[in-house]
Chain length 470, copies 4
Amino acid sequence: MSGRPKEYCGIFGIYGHADAGKLTYFGLYALQHRGQESAGIVVGNGSEVRQHIGMGLVSEVFDDRSLADLPGHLAIGHVRYSTTGSSLFKNAQPFLIEHGRRSLAIGHNGNLVNAARLRRELESKGHIFQTTMDSEVFLHLMVPFDTEEALEDALIHSLAQVEGAYSIVLMTKKTLVGARDPHGFRPLCLGKLNGAYVLASETCALDLVEAEYIRDIEPGEIVLIDDDGLRSIKPFPEVQGALCIFEYIYFARPDSDIFGQNVYEVRKRQGERLAAEFQMDVDLIMPFPDSGNYAALGYAQNSGIPFEMGVIRNHYIGRTFIQPSQFMREFGVRVKLNPVKSLLRGKRVLVVEDSIIRGTTTRTRINTLRNAGAREVHMLVSCPPHRYPCYYGIDFSSRGELIAAGHSVDEIGAYIGLDSLGYLSLDGLIGATQMNRERFCLACFDGNYPTEVCEEFSKYCLEGIQLAEP
Amino acid sequence: MSGRPKEYCGIFGIYGHADAGKLTYFGLYALQHRGQESAGIVVGNGSEVRQHIGMGLVSEVFDDRSLADLPGHLAIGHVRYSTTGSSLFKNAQPFLIEHGRRSLAIGHNGNLVNAARLRRELESKGHIFQTTMDSEVFLHLMVPFDTEEALEDALIHSLAQVEGAYSIVLMTKKTLVGARDPHGFRPLCLGKLNGAYVLASETCALDLVEAEYIRDIEPGEIVLIDDDGLRSIKPFPEVQGALCIFEYIYFARPDSDIFGQNVYEVRKRQGERLAAEFQMDVDLIMPFPDSGNYAALGYAQNSGIPFEMGVIRNHYIGRTFIQPSQFMREFGVRVKLNPVKSLLRGKRVLVVEDSIIRGTTTRTRINTLRNAGAREVHMLVSCPPHRYPCYYGIDFSSRGELIAAGHSVDEIGAYIGLDSLGYLSLDGLIGATQMNRERFCLACFDGNYPTEVCEEFSKYCLEGIQLAEP
Amino acid sequence: MSGRPKEYCGIFGIYGHADAGKLTYFGLYALQHRGQESAGIVVGNGSEVRQHIGMGLVSEVFDDRSLADLPGHLAIGHVRYSTTGSSLFKNAQPFLIEHGRRSLAIGHNGNLVNAARLRRELESKGHIFQTTMDSEVFLHLMVPFDTEEALEDALIHSLAQVEGAYSIVLMTKKTLVGARDPHGFRPLCLGKLNGAYVLASETCALDLVEAEYIRDIEPGEIVLIDDDGLRSIKPFPEVQGALCIFEYIYFARPDSDIFGQNVYEVRKRQGERLAAEFQMDVDLIMPFPDSGNYAALGYAQNSGIPFEMGVIRNHYIGRTFIQPSQFMREFGVRVKLNPVKSLLRGKRVLVVEDSIIRGTTTRTRINTLRNAGAREVHMLVSCPPHRYPCYYGIDFSSRGELIAAGHSVDEIGAYIGLDSLGYLSLDGLIGATQMNRERFCLACFDGNYPTEVCEEFSKYCLEGIQLAEP
Amino acid sequence: MSGRPKEYCGIFGIYGHADAGKLTYFGLYALQHRGQESAGIVVGNGSEVRQHIGMGLVSEVFDDRSLADLPGHLAIGHVRYSTTGSSLFKNAQPFLIEHGRRSLAIGHNGNLVNAARLRRELESKGHIFQTTMDSEVFLHLMVPFDTEEALEDALIHSLAQVEGAYSIVLMTKKTLVGARDPHGFRPLCLGKLNGAYVLASETCALDLVEAEYIRDIEPGEIVLIDDDGLRSIKPFPEVQGALCIFEYIYFARPDSDIFGQNVYEVRKRQGERLAAEFQMDVDLIMPFPDSGNYAALGYAQNSGIPFEMGVIRNHYIGRTFIQPSQFMREFGVRVKLNPVKSLLRGKRVLVVEDSIIRGTTTRTRINTLRNAGAREVHMLVSCPPHRYPCYYGIDFSSRGELIAAGHSVDEIGAYIGLDSLGYLSLDGLIGATQMNRERFCLACFDGNYPTEVCEEFSKYCLEGIQLAEP
């Protein structure tokens, strides 16, 4: 098990379309914000299965030739969050195994909390793991059931043992499977495109391929799609819901519907709630694009204070950006977001942000506003302070990285260099979702984790200690 | 002379900084929106001159190694607009010649209208041209003056003969030169960074390198910068101003000051004028990011109609985007800009755009709004209709490409599929700049060209005929 | 199990040198003729194991950076024969697994004849294979023994079950292992470099790293090398020898000693035997470089007929050679080997070749000699006709590919376009080795296979049918 | 003028074949040994001219796409010797200019001795040079004659002024030109392929494209080939011949005929002469492949001493070869040429070499023979000692680099570590060519230069001083 047990990811699956591989490529394009480290597609035509994966963006991994090499009516795809190091090629998904006459491929979004223990048990039985991903455990647990007929049993056997967050797309030579863990941490939705079924992390991927949104896969649900159509099973006892509220705050695309709500609108209502909780005497409101755009709009429309685009985004930042010398302070920030001096000079500015994790980037950005001549700089954050790490797939897992874990709001404001700082209340946040509090995982705010977290994993995360590699 | 006599470009120069090459790299980063085809830097240390140029973005052309190979205190840089074809490598700038013991390099923004004639004359005298760029003419005209002392004479001799639009940065082994044509079509500003002088197309490049803005280079002015400081000459008779108003409308970055006005604010005032000229009964206002952002904001703030971000931009569009099959209409558009269905469904939508050139892209975008459920779609354009080609460096040179050259506003609206379409009046546009009408070139709107346009060139442009290569 | 169960390969291992990774790189350079498809190195420092593998030549796969990333005192390396398709990346060796706290890596030269059956059995027990290589079976069979102390038991358990041809280098975090199958099909030699032990397919690799040749690893021998030195075990009953005689004829480098004989000298003696068996009345003897060089020299020195280099080799043939149009007959051959017209015109030419497999290339080459003006063209082959496929790692596995399997010598000569054709007798060939007939596998000549060949494998090979993928 | 005024090169031209570009590509493949730094082709179809050039081998510079982009019936091509530095891209040939409505392209083999002076004169008249190649002077001198009709005058005007060594292929939109300087330093031959005319540095290029050899272009001859056929002029007074004898010794391919003699046969006769001049009591004769192959054969056949291939060449040396550490002596040599120990151990070895320039490589190679166990190592060189630099295009231009310029034969033998060393006499060398002494340039042996060498150039060359760049 790797020392970095958390991943953002986007997944996509399709059954019953002659261009399954190409549509998956398009679907991954729409989900690219969920992962930029690697991209991959596995395609099947009923008898043969092909895979193409690579490091980088969808646009870098695939070209006309590689797509032409992926014929079939059944496909799954995966994008993964950017970490560093090409050595992680073997961790790119979808993960595919050929076992006997069977093929099994999986794309996984989420994080298992008992993967290390399961892996140890499997290795002691002779299993050889190929990657350091928790996702590999799913397939190892399915292997004893080695016929297509036993697929449902295999899935139940496997999913019954894993604990934590998972939305998965899985395929055999003949069947597409989608599943969400019983808590429902991560999203997964179902659509139809003419006769074909489509699975995707977010509805923006359905939009792009012109599939019609049908419904969300439910927490604990498994859907199996093959020539006989779609079959749904819910073999596990119902548990408390634990939808990841951070999907609304930051992670999902604003044009997606997630857990039944449009993300853009939830974010605007967060701004509306902020406006209700904090009346600010400022000259203008602005976001740092694109993170705070929608909450800022919501605040502006409910306060009468003008919304402005106070910093301009440079769209041409390449990957090989040369680091500036020390003598150029703030360059690394300003090359991406340059303040509009004429607009800011002498003004009292309110920045609306979606979240503050470490605070370092925010601090530098605020400084560029001051250098551009802003007289006052205030900030409102559209969620409560992040005080607890996430074990379910969001990348802020050690408390040492969370500025709010060890500092008061005033201390954070001072560190960042603000004239004032405010956070939306938890009630305000939940109110903005127009959903019941019980449906969400709010652990990053209140520390109440919906699942047990295995000892060593928890220790690792809470104390920020690097686990020794097994 | 190539059959494509027009170029967008950005230029940068610096004298007197130990990191001249690296700062030029940063400056070009800020000017990247002015040209994405090629990038180049020429650096000098007083005795030796080095060049690094390449096709692609600044981030693709340069890396740590190539920058480390560019030591010196004197540098110029250039970015050029994206056309297609790697065969155009030889046209990348800055253009450098070694003649006798002298080095001359130039970066040029603009377009000469008598370059073809000058080239013919020079060739008949035995000159051999290396490129198909009009910019090469500058240096050929300077060559007879072959000492450093005669530099001023050489510049006057050369600039006196060229006609049209140019802002240039030029360097010898010892001197940095900046110049604007007497009409002042293209911008060029002067800044200081500690003791170093900086020249740049736009002030956003000064911001990035933390140089202080001093003033614009004036129309017809030549500045020579060397160890003795800056010397300014204005050797040519004054002529009518012809600032390119399209820099305000579309081309320059909103965080730049151009011709003495902040671009962001001019654009907001264009929206304000639109609000005065057109009262619309709609539910929301939205731009297609980023082109209409600021005029839309200006309209919203002066009309009370809410500003929304009705389409979401995908920031991960790579260069090797696979073309979708025919069966997916609008995919190519929607992958870049996806409408937020929940927001648009059943709404009366006003789109504010900065300009309509051909109308084809706009048409497809409007269609995606309708497919997303918008009930009505109206559009206001923040400038008058473009009816005449530009000969001075903006890429809409044949009348055949300009939808407004042959169609009424109603016809255009019908073609695009709008419920209504309105254009800002010319007076409204000029009013938004808060400057005098006489200072601008408005030829693309009214056909009054500030210079003579040589016969063959004009014929080429007006009728859209491809000139035979000489 | 892939449809292509045969590989040429070269292997190298070293224990006890601070530059183990770099020396392995050098060793692979010397063994490059044994495989050009992929190259890889695994290095260990006692606690950590690193791997770098890639498709292509050693010089393409490694650079200064990748070598610098491979520190350690223990390393194994592998080169593999060129087939087509980058999709075979996962089949590149050395193959590395991390299991529990253990690391196991293997490089294999040879071919197992019971791998398909073993794999089926292992899969039925739940094992998941990562590749289509027979080599992976070795490690799966070792996994139940999961401590360093049990390494010897694990090796014996694993090697006792595999049947066929293998010379392997294998490493754990602390131990280097070398082994040859009991028949000894493929070579493996042992050397010392100061205090370090070196294993290599051929002695030319020892030469390059300046290691001293100690002895061959014996058939059926396993050597384990660690901090306590070298330990040799021979746990398996002795069986009949089956050294691959094709190593002498074609495969090994002439500057290597193989199975105790220098390859250059064996080949010269083949030529000497040819001279004894065939007296030819010709003007000159020539090889096609480099295949027949040494036998041709041997014939020339024992016949008095002059040796000439009648075709000139072009050393600059790149990988992206453009195929010539149909109108240029023989171009593809002549660009590599151009005949010296002045030398050949009007002459009676004797070509000495090492072998004829399909006959197609030979036919075209002979035609270029005739077009260059040769009056007569005769050929002598320095081994008997190849009539039977090889199941032990040499790439002529289907009888359909072997021209001698279905045609008489006269028919072959007529097909190739020769005035006469002769093959060395089997006795002559064995005599040239100066070793006992019983020590060799001669199956490709006489069809007597030293091992049982499992049903499906044999069927596949003999009839050239592509096995369905399992 | 660059500080490195000498180049090896190969040239090719063709007129009247529908696949002119592709055939030129093939021709350059055959001439690759004459230059590996860059390759280029210019093609014309009568109205348009296209160019493709690049750094690297022919196989690296061209692919199917670039060849498909070169349609036409008229083409010239060029390969250039490998120096270092990608910055020399602009010096790659053929060099092409577009001037007025005319196109002129040239490929040049040889070196001009008065290019620096001519360039200074042209620059003072306003000419701007694009490269640092002497070859560019040809075209500048032709420019004043700017019609197709004046081509012959232009050529005469240009060639009358340049002095030194040149064989050139040159083309306009309609005409192919070939020319050799009056001394005839460098080779150029003429062939026919069906109706098409072919020009090439060596006949091996004719062989490859299946063109029939017609004759050599004569010293001082200019041939113009167009739709009216071939026209030959010899406008310059006849001068003493100065064929480069080093083409026979080392440079040309052995399967070529040069200056009317087959190179392979000349080299064998050199070996025959060596055998007459030196009777050696040794066990075997060997070359270092491929330099001494043919002279060694010639010696062996005339002495009765056996010819052996005592070192084995590794054909897989890549460009990114990692430099070995200091601890591995001779590695860099041995990885390319490994001695066959079994053959050499205890033997008295005679190495036949074609030339010794600096002696450093030879010294290391001899050392590897001794380490392999050779008892005695003798060397015979198939030409006299090189005592004088070449100004005409061969890369040994400073006396400081020539070991024979300052040392006796005994001293050289001692430095290299030989038991004995002998050089072929000048008479022997000339005898081997079976041509008259007066026809050759023998300056590298006797210092009698056939042309005046301009002061600065000569000074540079004789004293090895790096000229300051102008």
